[in-house]
Structure formats: C-alpha cells, structure tokens
Symmetry: C2
Subunit: 123 residues, 2 copies
DNA sequence: AGTGTACTCGCAAATGATTTGCGTATTTTT
DNA sequence: AAAAATACGCAAATCATTTGCGAGTACACT
C-alpha cells in the first residue's frame, strides 16, 4: 500500500512537508501519482494520524499528528517552520470568553520573522 | 475611476469582505469586472489603504487598513469574523526571542469557535 | 487641436494547489 | 476463487486569484 510510503516520509521528517515535497520524496522509491498523495494525505488527516497546517501562503503542510499543542515560527527568508510549544493563549481565550461571550474552541497562531540561521547568513 | 467605488464599499463595511462580496456590491451600481476588483484591491493593499487577511479557508478578506493591531474571532457557524484587540502576545514573542533567537517581526492569530449569536440560535 | 505617454478596464486565458470522476488494478472478505 | 471493497492512475474539473493583451480614457506638453 502506497499509504505506508507516504506515512513513512512524514514520520521521518523533522519538519512539516507540502504534498509536493512528499510526492517528490516518495517518487524516488516507487511510482506514484500526485492525486494519490493528496487522497492519502486527506485520509491520514481524517484518521488523526497526520495534521494539516494551512499557512498564510495558502499551501498546506503536513506533519505527524501528536497531541501537543504547537505553533510555528516561520522564517520569511528560508520559509522553514519551526515548532514551538510556548503558548499562553489560554489566558487570552478565557478573557475573550468572559468579555464577549464568544465560545472559542480552537485557535491558530503563526509567528513570522527571521530564524537565527538566516540572520547569521545575512551578515 | 472604479477604484473609488471599491474603496467606498470597504470603507462602509463594518466587517472584512471577500473580493467577490465587494464585486457583487459594486456591481449593483456600475459595470465592473472581477479582475478589476482584484487588481484594485492589490493596489489598495500596496498603498496600505486596505488590509488583506488570509484566513484558514484560503479565501482572502479585505478591510479598511488601520494601525490597530487586531485579531479575529471567527465563528464556525456563520463564518463571520469579529475583530478583537485583546492580544498579549508580545510577552510570548519576547520569550521566544530570548529562548530561540528567532527574530519575530509579526504574527497572525485566529480564534475559532461559536459566536454568541449562533450559540443562542442553536438552542 | 494633435501627439505622446500612462493609466484603467474588460475579456479571455493562465495559474497553481487541490479535488473528483471514472475505469482499472489490487487487496480483503467470505 | 468469487464477490465486495479499496487503492490508484489519469485526465479533467475546481476555485480563488493573476496575467496578457488590446481597446478605451485621461493627463501633459507643444
């Protein structure tokens, strides 16, 4: 099953990948079609094995699902996403709920900037 | 100039609008083409007169630019975006910078849930 | 008024990520 | 092994957005 190849790539990647990156990677080993990658990815997401992340650039990124609540530091130079678990938004959420009555179920947070690596290279 | 019609719609709208909503609105008064709307919108964004907001649904929303730093409470029922200025992320940003060296220049934050209105209607 | 330059627009076609229909293969169930 | 269910490739469809091009319009300078 090609699903296994796709899932393996995701499991072995330290960072989130686009469907195309996954496709390129898997293609090195077997014949596969991009639509199969997308279909499989949606499948894995439905089964909560993989998390789909929609970033501001309108491209979706996929990574191994884990229960940790994470956010990303996205470097505007190299476009890499670095996960961080620092997130004290719960307080803000409580405050909003208290003051507006809006019942928050989730949030997305994305930081943009320049990663240490790119800062270094810029010099 | 059709730009004025477009800018007017944005100015007079209490909430952010999609390109299509703007197109529909302007179309009631004058003949206009969707591509003109998009072109004009990009123009206004470049001039910092209008802010473009990319939401998780991959559709862009446009609203009058103001210098206030805002975030949105997005209702998953009615899909309306309610701005909020509650945002204490600066602390988190400082912490991240201190601990990772990542130089953050901006962030995006989006809350999802059910707005009071929809909560009420659900009953 | 005449000419040149620069926008402004409409239209149709292109884009690019993602999805879908459909027919064929492959696997799983009985 | 036959039937039922999935998986897959391929080509075409989607959908928001962009772009090329050609015509129309405005402004500037002589």
């Amino acid at each position: 099953m090609k699903k296994d190849y796709i899932f393996d790539v995701i499991k072995n990647s330290p960072n989130s990948l686009t469907a195309e990156e996954i496709y390129n990677n898997v293609s090195q080993n077997i014949n596969i079609n991009l639509s199969t990658v997308y279909r499989t990815l949606n499948n894995l997401v439905d089964k909560d094995l993989v998390t789909k992340i929609v970033r501001q650039d309108k491209i979706s990124y996929y990574e191994l699902a884990d229960n940790e609540h994470k956010h990303y530091l996205i470097c505007d130079k190299c476009n890499q996403a670095y996960p961080t678990d620092m997130c004290d938004i719960e307080k803000i959420e409580r405050k909003i709920k208290r003051e507006t009555g809006f019942n928050i179920t989730s949030h997305t947070l994305e930081f943009h900037g320049i990663c240490p690596e790119c800062s270094k290279n810029a010099k």
